[in-house]
Amino acid sequence: MAAEQAKVDPMYQFTIEPLAGSGGWELAGYNIAFTNSALWMLITTVVLFLFVLGGMRRELVPGRWQMMVESFTGFIDNMLEANIGKAGRKYVPYVFSLFMFILFANLLGLLPLGVIGLHPFTFTSHFTVTGVLAIISFSIVLIVGFWRHGLHFFSLFVPHGTPLPMIPVIAPIEFISFMVRPFSLGLRLFVAMMAGHVLLEVLSSFVIDGTNAGAGFGLLVGLPSFLLMIGICALELLVAGIQAYVFALLTSLYINDAENLH
């Protein structure tokens, strides 16, 4: 047994596979195969729907579930009001959807379903997904900005109190930092989720390979790695929440720029 090499490829978990022969589905010439990624988007949507549905009892004295849902909406509402002001309330549906969708995707991707033979898939570890979410947020910023302020929105690139001779220098820098936003927004989430999952996978390969190599290696390498994995799992739960929060927070800050300029 010890001679057999365990094959743990830390990147394999991100592989996208079409499910149930849907590989050939096409829409207007583009492939729209229903993949494991799409399946987990569906699961996320359904779980989120059920979660919010449980908070729809509309009782005057809320139960635990309703309280939980209400504290999430209240959390997003407070965040938007703190960052944008009264005008921020109209963005609650979008930012709430964004935050909860990412949060549930991250958490569901961490479920230990491998124990019963299923493979959770964290679609937020794909920059195609986080990129689209970032582009949606950025588009909202642009649309709101030009809708509310017209061409005056370009004054965003000239911070208050900039001396006149400095404007030619400052404005391009501000413009670049503005244009980088969607990339930083999308890449941050993608990198954080992928790194965590890769780390867990690498550590698990240490546990498996170390144990297969004998009791000595198992104790020396496998056990510490296993203990570390437990800690990192807790850390990943934290990261799942923090990354969703950061995505929602940065989106609301960017929307604030569009709503109120500087």
Binding site: M11, I32, A33, F34, T44, M56, L60, S97, T128, V132
Partner: protein, 164 residues
């Protein structure tokens, strides 16, 4: 890295399904359910604020009524004390009058009685004199054989009686 290796094959499916499911999330959950949840919270906050306001109003009203009751109570007490004082004064005046009347009656009775006593004494004395003078006349006539006239006897008796 499958994210890059499979990019050409999978990006369209990823984008499509993300738009589908995030769209569902946004329109059904974000637009449809979240406002209702927040509405419930707002309703509850409103209800709590209204209840607190109602409770405060009720307390103020109760305070007001208590104050009114206190004022009225004080008035009633003062009125009652006035009635008691008046009744006391009246009773005192009445009894004083009665006492005075009784005193007058008693004084009158006393005076009458004294007058009657004085009269009785005078009458008794006169009778005693008359008897004494008759007795003296009789005694003198019997013993000395001298006939004493009544005025003389009376004068002698008077003299003797005056001496005791």
């Amino acid at each position: 890295m499958p994210q890059i290796a499979q990019l050409a094959d999978t990006w369209s499916s990823q984008v499509f399904w993300l738009l589908v499911f995030f769209g569902i999330t946004f329109f059904v959950i974000g637009k449809g359910m979240v406002p209702k949840v927040m509405d419930t919270v707002a309703q509850r906050d409103g209800q709590i604020a209204a209840d607190l306001a109602a409770a405060k109003a009720a307390r103020d009203a109760a305070d007001e009524q208590e104050e009114a009751w206190r004022v009225k109570e004080n008035e009633n007490r003062a009125a009652a004390q006035a009635i008691v004082a008046k009744a006391k004064d009246e009773a005192a005046a009445k009894s004083e009058k009665k006492l005075k009347a009784a005193q007058t009656r008693i004084d009158k009775k006393l005076t009458d009685a004294e007058v009657r006593i004085a009269e009785a004494r005078t009458a008794a004395l006169a009778e005693v004199e008359a008897v004494a003078s008759e007795a003296a006349q009789d005694i003198v006539k019997t013993l000395a054989g001298v006939k004493v006239t009544k005025p003389v006897a009376t004068a002698a008796v008077k003299e003797q009686m005056a001496h005791g």
